[in-house]
């Protein structure tokens, strides 16, 4: 699946998007998997409560299933307007 990063999450991880092959069933499992990969992921995902996630461009929960999902995006709370 495509994994996208925005704002400081993007800056910490160093890329705006990447293709990720995973067996993770939920967002939370995907996060744990990414954190074990490299230090930059561990740094970006250190405090999950400071992050938001969107599944196929809909705001979602970290407990949500990844079944059928093609695009996962991680970002800090929005500050538009």
């Amino acid at each position: 699946m495509q994994v996208l990063y925005f704002a400081w999450v993007r800056e910490r991880i160093g890329v705006p998007r990447e293709e990720v092959q995973t067996q993770a069933a939920t967002v939370a499992e995907l996060v744990e998997e990414l954190k074990t990969r490299e230090e930059r992921y561990a740094a970006a995902f250190a405090d999950i409560s400071a992050l938001r996630v969107a599944l196929d461009q809909d705001l979602s929960e970290f407990t949500d299933s990844l079944e059928g999902v093609r695009e996962v995006a991680f970002f800090p709370p929005m500050t538009g307007g």
């Binding site: 996208l4 925005f6 704002a7 400081w8 993007r10 969107a54 461009q57 809909d58 705001l59 995006a73 970002f75 800090p76 709370p77 929005m78 500050t79 538009g80 307007g81």
Partner: protein
């Protein structure tokens, strides 16, 4: 009407065009958000967004507002990219028969847009640049709707 764009726009011209298109409605409310100066002197603001999701989130918020307050029309324009102090970041406009509906819908649009549309602001000052933190007050504002 939803527009997400990098280019500047003219809020006055947008307001006039919007008002002309909803001539039957008696009440038009607009909100514009400008890049304001911050402590340390703001050089520029960079607005990042999530193409695709942004338009989708804004359209959903707009449709909710139109349905809930029976608006004649609602407009949202939001810029992204690099902006200088004083530039207009975004605007919303609402039109209704009575002013209470137009005001409530405009506030609703702003509250949701602030915390639910995928935009992130970064401020560049003389001391460096930093992402704007979300305000608790903005998240709390959603609870009243």
């Amino acid at each position: 009407m939803i527009r997400v764009q990098q280019d500047p726009f003219d809020p006055g011209a947008e307001l006039n065009a919007f008002s002309a298109a909803v001539a039957g409605a008696g009440a038009v409310v607009s909100f514009s958000g400008l890049v304001r100066d911050v402590a340390g002197g703001l050089r520029a603001m960079e607005i990042e967004h999530y193409p695709g999701m942004t338009e989708k989130a804004l359209a959903e918020i707009r449709d909710q507002a139109v349905a809930r307050w029976a608006l004649a029309e609602a407009l949202v324009i939001h810029r992204h990219g690099r902006l200088e102090p004083g530039e207009v970041i975004m605007m919303v406009a609402t039109a209704a028969r009575h002013r209470a509906d137009a005001f409530a819908a405009a506030e609703f649009l702003m509250d949701y847009l602030k915390s639910r549309a995928p935009f992130w602001k970064k401020e560049e000052t003389g001391d460096g640049s930093d992402w704007v933190a979300a305000r608790d007050a903005d998240e709390d504002a959603l609870k009243r709707w």
